[in-house]
Assembly symmetry: C2
Homo-oligomer: 469 residues x 2
């Protein structure tokens, strides 16, 4: 099929494809809340089997089940080449409900967009990829290579159980290259991909001051868990966004000159970002004179994702709270180790006299960067150039996180992430959406990418052989 034919077929298929996607996002698969896991697993398996895929539901190592899917190359395809798709079927919690314009688990089409929790992150991408397979299967030449899927159900809580599955089922998931779960167009409508991801140490700090909530009048002599937590947090990062935890920056691998150059050339539109989120203040990088692109790719972060203590309802309640909690998300870069970060935060708190604050890690993951010069990276970029009509943006790693390090370590393959989101997708926030046009283009891109995949990998093989010869 040429690109024109592919576009035509995608559009013919769209009504049916959208029905499938709507049905998928109706499932409230919130892993943090243990919700709708079995029915979602059954739904994903059914989608794959409907297209003749071979599936296995792996649940022998704990956690939510991991779904394996396999689609063999057609008779005219190359059975020696395998592309692996990584997706996840779980979604972020939908809260706060009252800020959704339509209910999070009732998909609504409006102004060419489909709104629902998980539609951009990451259920839309799975449906797009399965549709690409279907279209290739229905084409004259059939599926041009083997395709495998790994669809897990704990990405939004940090994939705590994924690594053992990858190690035990290394052969089952073995492939020549991997397309990662996500991607989107940026503020200037450029398709934006990454060849790596940041890691994470998602911490929860808890200060216990007493066994019961007290009347606030005794604040004259009784210590306050909320004040303690506030004072402790204030020692960990200053107003200028500098992380003050000793050892936090240990082991960071300096990026290569090529990577630095790529990052310097990434587009970044401060105005557009500010408008998009309705920011009330300048970017925090401005105070430090830092290039926000470098911060995005090369700098670790420490973000308060949530803090809670005492009475937070309407009006005044005069309570001295017994407990205070904060959720702190540290995004890590290659070379940083989440376990070391946890240890550093613990020892920082002790050093500053906060022995009443305990720290727990909800999610620890290392960062990963693929070999930026691998022909697979070039192939994904080349096909994107055709589909999107402009030079794609490929960052050495994303600002976001995923369990890519475990894949890279276990399967030894290049990984590129691309997907069907847009700059206003609001992933992890209320009113998450994709645009139907991006969804169509994403399917077309996957059809073209799969069509030329075996050949591109052959070129790589030849290059490697001649390099070794």
């Amino acid at each position: 099929m040429d690109q024109g034919q592919v576009i035509k077929r995608v559009q013919e298929h769209l009504p049916q494809t959208l029905e499938t996607l709507k049905e998928y996002v109706r499932l409230p698969t919130v892993s943090a809340q243990h919700s709708a896991i079995p029915e979602t697993v059954a739904f994903v398996v059914a989608m794959m089997e409907k297209l003749g895929g071979v599936t296995r539901v792996l649940d022998d190592l704990g956690g939510n089940p991991v779904i394996y899917g396999f689609f063999p190359a057609g008779s005219k395809g190359d059975p020696g080449k395998t592309l692996l798709f990584y997706n996840h079927y779980d979604v972020q919690p939908p809260e706060p409900f009252d800020e959704w314009e339509t209910p999070p688990f009732e998909p609504a089409v409006k102004d060419g967009k489909l709104f629902a929790r998980g539609v951009a992150d990451n259920k839309g991408d799975l449906v797009a990829r399965l549709t690409a397979i279907q279209l290739l299967q229905e084409s004259e030449d059939g599926l041009p290579c083997n395709v495998k899927f790994m669809v897990e159900g704990e990405e939004e809580i940090g994939s705590p159980n994924l690594e053992p599955y990858l190690r035990k089922y290394q052969e089952l998931f073995s492939a020549d290259a991997c397309i990662w779960e996500f991607g989107s167009k940026d503020e200037a409508e450029r398709i934006s991909m990454v060849a790596g991801i940041k890691g994470m140490a998602y911490l929860e700090l808890t200060c216990e001051g007493a066994e019961i909530d007290m009347h606030s009048s005794i604040g004259a002599y009784v210590d306050n868990a909320a004040w303690r937590l506030v004072q402790a947090l204030a020692t960990m990062k200053n107003k200028e966004n500098e992380i003050l935890v000793e050892g936090f920056y240990d082991g960071i691998l300096e990026p290569s000159e090529r990577e630095r150059q790529v990052v310097r050339n990434l587009p970044f539109d401060t105005e557009a970002i500010s408008r998009l989120y309705g920011l009330k203040r300048p970017l925090i990088t401005e105070a430090l004179g830092v290039d926000p692109r470098e911060a995005m790719v090369f700098h670790p972060t420490m973000t308060i994702c949530g803090i809670e203590s005492g009475y937070t309802g309407e009006g005044a309640k005069t309570v001295l709270p017994k407990r205070a909690k904060a959720k702190v998300d540290c995004r890590l870069v290659p070379g940083q180790d989440p376990e070391h970060i946890l240890a550093c935060v613990k020892s920082h708190l002790l050093k500053h006299g906060f022995d009443d604050i305990s720290v727990k890690m909800w999610n620890g993951q290392k960062a990963y960067r693929s070999d930026y010069d691998h022909p697979f990276v070039s192939h994904v970029m080349e096909t994107a150039r055709h589909v999107y009509g402009h030079e794609p943006i490929v960052a050495p790693n994303s600002a976001g996180t995923g369990p890519m390090y475990a894949f890279g370590e276990a399967l030894r393959l290049p990984i590129v992430s691309t997907g069907v989101g847009w700059s206003g997708s609001k992933v992890h926030a209320p009113n998450e959406s994709i645009r139907l046009q991006d969804f169509e283009q994403g399917i077309v891109h996957m059809v073209l990418m799969l069509s030329g995949f075996a050949q591109a990998m052959d070129a790589h093989l030849h290059r490697s052989q001649s390099g070794n010869g």
Copy 2:
């Protein structure tokens, strides 16, 4: 009636009295949540009218209605003397629900205690006082003086509308002395009263960072409302409990030598307090080498009553919150002005670069101290000595707050606060309770106090006259 007779009558009345109290605390009169106001007003009016009280429901000046009640002296009593009771019919919010052992608005008797939201603060006291009137009415000599009630419905949100009512209805509420709403036994079972109260500036600080919640990965370059609020709060009070807001201590009136002496002799059992609340750390006064009794009576406070931002549910949600809020309760001492405190906090935030944090005052009240040497204070102490069998504790002012300043200014009378709570009453917290025995003693105390009231005030009159002569 002698004390023995009074005790007997109180016990005979108890089943009926308890039924009335249970019915009263079943009403979920949460002023912060605008709940059950009209039905509670009707209930209080009915209780008074059942005893022949004359009532008026005042609602011409806004806010929840203020209830006036009047019980004239009996034929053998002194119609020239009037005692005013101040009570409130509203209660604190019951949250967090899951920490109540029995539902907050379903009164439960267990181990000699009655559990319900508002039973100690302050519905139990109103029923005790009305019962005392009933017993005196039923006695041979009848009610020995006039008794007035002011029962308001916004005490738990800081009595924002009380002052205009006091000014407009100054004559209606005029009296010779006032018994204030609350009181309890302390950790060592001593009846504990106050002749004044602290004031309050209850502030809410809000930082708005963006118009929508964002994905936490962009914390590399986007500023964070929760971090801003934490950093701002940390500039307002240090780890050692010192308030750092410039001007906060302005105007504080130094206590008299008599007041200092009384405070130095107040009982204070650090061990017992620590056990009662299950404190995890030493008293915060220890770090500063401050006497906790002095802190309790003479020092202003700044307490975080609540803080909230972003995701606070189970597990990890990687969100960069658009907004953060904190509720901060400052308890004030005589001479401090809540409006000035508000202005100081605002200018402190600006001075420290936090122009993105707004401050609102939910509740502003000045502190008040009665004349400690007034014979009414002595009369209340003397009758307490008889009922409780030990020397009562009377602090120059409480650590807690109420609209006493407005009473003192408008009605010019001495005020003593006493009530039926105990050290484990958990006012403002889950599992609020009173002990039935304290409830009985409180009724007996009010009977004796009213019996000798006219005579005590006459002695005062004579003292004043001879003083003037």
